[in-house]
Each structure stands twice: as C-alpha cells, then as structure tokens.
Amino acid sequence: MATVIVVTSGKGGVGKTTTSASFATGLAQRGYRTVVIDFDVGLRNLDLIMGCERRVVYDFVNIINGEANLNQALIRDKRVENLHILPASQTRDKEALTKEGVDRVLNELRQSFEYIVCDSPAGIERGALMALYFADEALVVTNPEVSSVRDSDRILGILASRSRRAEQGDPPVKEHLVLARYAPERADRGDMLSVEDVLEILGIPLLGVIPESQTVLQSSNAGVPVILEDGSDAGTAYGDLVDRFLGKNLPHRFITPQKKGFLKRLFGKG
C-alpha cells in the first residue's frame, strides 16, 4: 500500500521544494519506488531543483484532463533508480486541480509506487489544499522565525480539519516537523528560536533539523537535490531525516554550535 506524504509549510521560501526533492531522492536511494509531484500549478519549480526542467513534456494537469497518460508525463530521474518526477503545469488556471482529478491520478500512482511525495505550494489556496487533502503523513517545513512558525501552526490546523482523513474520521495525518535553515550558533546566543522553542510551540515530533548551509543554494544552482551532495552538512541532515522517517533511531545532528578553534573564532565569521 502506497503512502502519500505532503511537504507543506504555509509560508513560502522556507524549503518545501528543497525538502521534497531531497526526501524523495533519499527514499528512492534506499530502494523504495518513489514519485514526487509538484502541486504548484502556475509556478513550477520542482523540475529545476531536480534538474529535469528540459525534459518536461506533459504535466500533472495534462493527466487530469486526459491529454496524456501517466507514463508520458512521469520523468524518470537519471541519477537515482526508482525515482520519478511529475511536474506541475504552467497554466494559470488555478481551478485545473480538481479533487476528483487528483484522486484519480494518485490512485493510479499507488499501483506502481510505494511513496508518493506531494510538494505543496505556499499559502492555503487550492493547490496547497489539494496537496494535503489525500495525505497519510505530512512533513511540516518550518524556519526558526516567527512568521514561519505561526504559518506552520495554521497548516497543522488545516491538516487536522480539512484533510480527507479528518473528513472521513480516519486516523489523523501523521505530522513530522522539519526545522530548516537552522543556525545553532545564533540559537545558542539567544537571537534565534531554538529547536526546543519551536517544538514547544508546535508540539509535533521532530523528524529532522537542516542546518543553514551554502550547499543548498549551490546544489539548486546545479539542479542536484542537496541530499546527493556527499559530505555536505545539509545533505547529511537530509539523509538522517530519511532514515528516521523509515524508522531508524538516530540522534539529531547540527543542533549545537560547532566548536571553533581560537584563530577561527578571531578571524572567521561569527
């Protein structure tokens, strides 16, 4: 039975697409047949982050409208086996995603995939609601910053009330917190919300902490999910996150300041 996971946040720019790309890649690397779907109709970007923008022929809306079949639209990742990408449409018609249409496509995907990762657009409009409606589990991506935490709390409320599981009285969507762009030094100094602060406010289990990292921008420049950047801190953190999602009990890394040598403290940047 396939599991549908939404990657959501409410606020934009917190790392949903980065997380979707790396999470899906990580699942596929570990041998699971995985598809990642871009729900951001009109503002397609997952294809760029995954580095397959030039291979897009048909998209999600084409399938919903019956203009193409799934096999024509799914893009097979060239680096990782078992990984497919379903790009969003660039149409400006926001009504293109219908509940029936999305349901039909997801059901078809369930036949051939074990994990279906839904990359939600920002906001709480149709695209975001469609992305979370069918979810079994949710990765709530949050930055340690007031507006992001508040919006995440709103999204948790929507998951608990407007998902299909909520409507049908099924067990609730399983929530996971992904705290991205975390800077342990700043939290330690008291000028950034700490992991504990965010956990206390949102009250959902922590799946992973992704440190603020230059590698994230560099890998998006290159169209490579950051989890594939071996040895990078953000990539390692995503690797841990995927393992934890699959049930491994791993300690959280990158949540305490790294010890710096004397000279680095004097001359390096804080």
Binding site: R150, D153, I158, R189, I201
Partner: protein, 103 residues
Amino acid sequence: MGLFENFFRSSPHKSAALAKERLQIIVAHERGSGRRGSPDYLPALKKELLEVVRKYVPVDQSQIKVHLDREGGYEVLELNITLPDEEPRSRRNPESLPGPGQG
C-alpha cells in the same frame, strides 16, 4: 574561553525569548476549533486554580469545572467552583447549589 566570547561579542539581545513569547500568545489565540478540541493547558490551569481556591476554602478536586467555549469570534472560559456547605457565617443563601466562584 567564556571570557573571550564575552569580550568579542556584543551582549546578547535574547530576542529569541521575545519571539517565543509572542508566538505562544498568537498561536494560542489562533488555534481555533480546528486543532485539538480543548487546549492542552486546561488541565494545568484547572489544577492551579484549585490550589489558589484551596488556600481559602477547602474544595474537592471534583468540585471545579473548567470549560472553554467558542462563540462567534470569542473564546469564553467558564469556571465553576462548587463551594462546600459550611456553617452559616452570614446570611445563608437559600439556594446554595452550584454557583460561580468569586474571583
């Protein structure tokens, strides 16, 4: 080491504490009917209120009822404390049935 850090860094602003406080307030306020039927602070609130009342009047755990309601855009916190029947000190109310505790 600590000395060095203090020397080179400006004094901490602790703005994170402010952020947390503001968030806790706004999030508690915005958690509407959607999430978690009753807020998780209710049991603790009930316990503490009971302790305060007990300083003055002996009341039983079961004699306090805290209820949170939402009416329109407002949240109504309803507090019912049943005071024990005691020897009449002043005029005794003929209906000394459950009445609202006086704050």
